[in-house]
């Protein structure tokens, strides 16, 4: 039976982290080299954590499923990273970043964690610059900033439209330095299949070598999961093809609580869907909303003419354009938070004003910015994004407005962690998108990079010591222990079960079907009836999968279909938990919009009296209902209000 203890330190909010660091347990340098840490995942959180642990002197084993740590999907983050530096002298502060993040998350995140995040945000920029990350600069040589949704200051640092790439390459460079120094050992093309728990503590992992098919075991005194989010449960998302929820799901089944699985971010500015064969959706950075104006035609007949190709955007005069975000939210305009912008786009398209051939698209127009700033300036700011848009769609965004539509982008939910980022399994820590901790029910733009690096560089290197200090008496982990045998056997059994089905349909068929159910019923807009339907349909699809999936080839070699099958098998369970969570949360907050709970103006209606808590789900065995645990959220330093961007 799980007990949730958030372990928030006593004392005033602004002093909690300092106090924690001053009083926590530390591990002496000669003991550090006797302790092993496993890090799974090499995105911003994993790479920065593994490199930092190595620098401190721990023995680190780091794992990724790709051919190199540099491929992790943090690489694809475009727009930027937030930090409360106040370099722009525009009134920013740690408190304001904290406030914006809590409010942006619709008052469903933990105060102490978010304050710490804001507190260390500035250090991340310092660290990245020292590593050689080429952030954008002014002519004077100092760093420049831009603004993102949901805030009134410019606190976002960026490197063209490739900020995630540059930050990841910085962390990867630090990781490389530690690999060369021998403190970190890299295991690439390895996928984590199970977590090994010995005497109630996380002690190792079982992985599949994706080249040879061999099942391997690794032991450690602590395990860090930095395996990203589960957005690919929707099949179509902005995630990489290989992004998956399997490591987190394995941990859940071993006793780690899964928090707020229903909190999913649908990003408003993605290139619209264009065909059945499509394998993924491509994001157009939110930073574009700094200079682009979003609109649809006021008249339905104009929208229809555009859909049929009889008119183009440029045929619609300004007075017939509905800049609906500027109209509905004059204070924030095009820079409202993502959940608000996405719902507003859906509302307009559902009302018949959509513009893509499918009717599911709105315009993001740079005409006005080009008139104001000149083409050169726009090219400098967004050149690579414009080029990417043109390559994908065949349309030149300097001449015609972009067409965009919301798409699944990020999962705020994830494994439950306490203030130390430790899950409900002692010794299992979770960082980055894989945990639930900082973004509540909606994440602000440019905050994912901040959180991943905060966790990896500045939080885990402290908190993991508080745990490991008591592990110095424990010798090297014995990977011949029976718990390793059992875990390995379970993995092997699951693989042979998958291989032996030999049905008719490829894995992608089931993944697509699951994606449709999730998008229709557990997507941007949810209701009781739909969620109940989703739960039943997912169950039926899961049964069908285990009867009819076809995986060619063998398990003892490189087999991409088998890799996909394992991930989809887990998504078919995780999707159900998401629907269960969405069904239980009878309110609308952030990205979770329940149609039954909205204001007369169609805005989200929170029910703080009943749902101001983190929903943490405990696995109770196959076919059993998961058990709900509640962590109440207390706001002592922020006044809880109805979120308004008007």
């Amino acid at each position: 039976m799980i007990k949730l203890d958030s372990k928030i330190p006593e004392g005033p909010l602004a002093e909690k982290w300092t106090k924690y660091k001053e009083t926590q347990k530390l591990v002496s340098p000669n003991n550090k080299r006797k302790l092993d840490i496993i890090v799974v995942g090499t995105g911003l959180a994993g790479a920065s954590a593994a490199a930092s642990f190595g620098e401190m002197g721990f023995n680190v084993k780091v794992f990724c499923y790709q051919d190199s740590p540099r491929r992790a999907h943090s690489i694809a983050a475009q727009g930027g990273i937030n930090a409360a530096k106040n370099y722009q002298n525009d009134g920013d502060s740690i408190y304001r970043l904290f406030y914006d993040t809590i409010k942006g998350g619709d008052y469903r995140a933990r105060e102490a964690n978010v304050y710490r995040l804001a507190e260390v945000s500035g250090n991340i920029i310092d660290q990245a610059v020292a590593q050689g990350v080429p952030f954008a600069r002014e002519y004077g040589g100092y760093l420049t900033n831009r603004s993102f949704g949901g805030v009134l200051v410019s606190r976002t640092f960026y490197a063209k439209g490739q900020t995630g790439q540059q930050l990841l390459l910085g962390a990867y460079a630090s990781l490389n330095r530690q690999i060369a120094a021998g403190t970190v050992k890299l295991y690439h093309r390895r996928e984590m299949m199970d977590l090994v728990v010995v005497d109630g503590k996380a002690r190792g992992i079982i992985v599949r070598n994706l080249v040879t098919g061999e099942i391997e075991r690794y032991g450690a005194h602590a395990v860090v999961l930095a395996t990203g989010g589960y957005g690919n449960v929707y099949f179509l998302s902005t995630n990489a093809m290989g992004s998956n929820g399997s490591a987190a799901w394995a941990a859940y089944k071993k006793g780690a609580a899964f928090a707020n699985p229903a909190f999913v971010q649908i990003h408003p500015t993605c290139i619209p869907l264009h065909g059945e064969f499509q394998s993924k959706l491509t994001l157009m950075s939110e930073s574009l909303r700094n200079d682009g104006r979003i609109w649809v035609p006021k008249k339905k007949e104009d929208a229809e003419a555009i859909r049929k190709g009889l008119k183009t955007a440029n045929d619609i005069p300004d007075e017939d354009r509905d800049f609906y975000l500027e109209r509905r939210y004059p204070a924030f305009g095009n820079l409202v938070p993502r959940d608000v912008a996405s719902r507003a786009a859906k509302e307009r398209c559902d009302a018949g004003h959509g513009v893509a051939p499918t009717g599911l698209g709105v315009f993001l127009d740079f005409k006005y910015a080009i008139e104001r700033l000149g083409k050169k300036k726009i090219e400098e700011r967004y050149g690579n994004l414009f080029q990417m848009y043109e390559k994908i769609t065949g349309v030149d965004p300097y001449k015609h407005p972009m067409m965009i539509y919301p798409a699944v982008h990020y999962t705020m939910g994830g494994l439950w962690v306490d203030y130390e980022l430790q899950s409900t399994i002692p010794g299992l820590f979770v960082a980055g998108e894989a945990n639930f901790s900082d973004h509540g029910a909606n994440r602000l733009g440019a905050s994912a990079l901040m959180q991943g690096l905060a966790d990896g560089y500045f939080v885990l290197p402290y908190t993991i010591q508080n745990y490991l200090a008591d592990e110095i008496y424990h010798p090297e982990i014995d990977i011949k222990a029976k718990e390793f045998d059992e875990a390995e056997k379970n993995v092997k059994d699951k693989i042979s079960k998958l291989m032996s089905v030999q049905g008719k349909e490829p894995v992608d068929h089931f993944h697509r079907e699951l994606g449709k159910i999730m998008w229709d019923y557990v997507g941007m807009s949810r209701n009781r009836e739909g969620l109940e339907k989703a739960i039943n349909e997912i169950k039926a699809l899961r049964e069908e999968f285990w009867k009819n999936v076809r995986i060619p080839g063998s398990a003892d070699t490189l087999n991409p279909e088998l890799e996909k099958a394992g991930r989809v098998a887990d998504f078919l369970e995780l999707g159900e938990l998401m629907a269960i969570d969405a069904l239980h949360r009878e309110e609308s907050c952030g990205g979770h919009f329940r149609e039954e709970y909205q204001t007369e103006e169609g805005e989200a209606l929170r029910r703080d009296d009943q749902f101001m808590y983190v929903a943490a789900w405990e696995y109770k065995g196959e076919g059993q209902k998961p058990e709900l645990h509640k962590e109440p959220l207390k706001y002592e330093y922020i006044e809880v209000k109805t979120r308004s961007y008007k």
């Binding site: 920065s48 190199s68 060619p552």
Partner: protein, 247 residues
């Protein structure tokens, strides 16, 4: 659209490979090249055959995982894109398309179109970093950097490590890849401190791992999906010379 595909199939690193021919029909012109391979693989799986193995991940041109020599060109016929951002509308209906893995001594084939590029990681491990521990850094604005230098560093740092430069070079040289990292860090004051050690170590490692020398043909620059200029190789050469002359 309809295509004849000639695809390199190879069971594993030890087996000999050969081209297989596949006919494929009903490909939408808006499909990406990798989505076309998805459609082919879907058909192969349904027929009970092994699908074609290829590396890919982000499918938005930034992770550097996808590769492929298509009709003799790294990342195919379009300019400045990776294979995942190559769309079928760039081909003519009825075309025959030849698909091969990267071919270079430094990149052995693992299976079908998948090659082992861990040599790139090893080159970077040899010195492609600034030695700064977490927590060491001064305030970011204490290191002002002229915008022009920062911009050049950014252009170099944009390398995605895909290996197209090596696959294209007749000498299988990794010079553009190495130059991109050396130039990126050499343009920044915080990277100057280790510049000499870095350039020597990375060049040594590159040679040790079986990559050839640069003979300035410039083909790498032409095929680089991120448009990295060979002026960075010139910068690398200057840095290498300075390091060896110890000036």
């Amino acid at each position: 659209m309809k295509f004849t595909l000639k695809i390199w199939r190879q069971k594993d690193s030890k087996s000999k490979g050969k081209f297989e021919t596949y006919q494929i029909d009903n490909i939408p012109s808006d499909a990406s090249f990798l989505e076309m391979l998805d459609i082919l693989n879907d058909e192969l799986v349904r027929k009970g055959e092994e699908p074609v193995a290829f590396d890919h991940d982000c499918r938005e041109g930034i992770c550097g995982m996808c590769s492929l020599h298509i009709n003799g060109r790294a990342h195919g016929p379009d300019e400045d894109v990776t294979t995942c951002q190559l769309f079928m509308r760039k081909f003519k209906d009825g075309d025959t398309i030849w698909v091969e893995p990267w071919r270079a001594k430094g990149f052995p084939v693992i299976k079908d179109l998948i090659v082992d590029r861990s040599a790139f990681d090893k080159i970077l491990q040899a010195g492609g970093y600034i030695s700064v521990n977490t927590g060491n850094a001064p305030d970011a604005n204490n290191i002002p950097i002229p915008k022009d230098d920062a911009d050049v560093a950014m252009d170099a740092a944009t390398c995605i490590g895909c290996g197209a430069c090596v696959a294209t070079c007749k000498n299988s040289s990794a010079m553009l890849f190495v130059a991109a990292k050396v130039s990126h860090l050499a343009h920044l004051p915080q990277g100057r401190i280790e510049a000499k050690r870095r350039v020597k170590a990375m060049i040594d490692k590159m040679e040790e791992l079986g990559f050839g020398s640069c003979t300035n043909t410039g083909s790498c620059e032409v095929e680089c999906p991120k448009n990295i200029s060979i002026t960075h190789i010139a910068k690398l050469n200057r840095e290498f010379l300075k390091a060896n002359l110890d000036v």
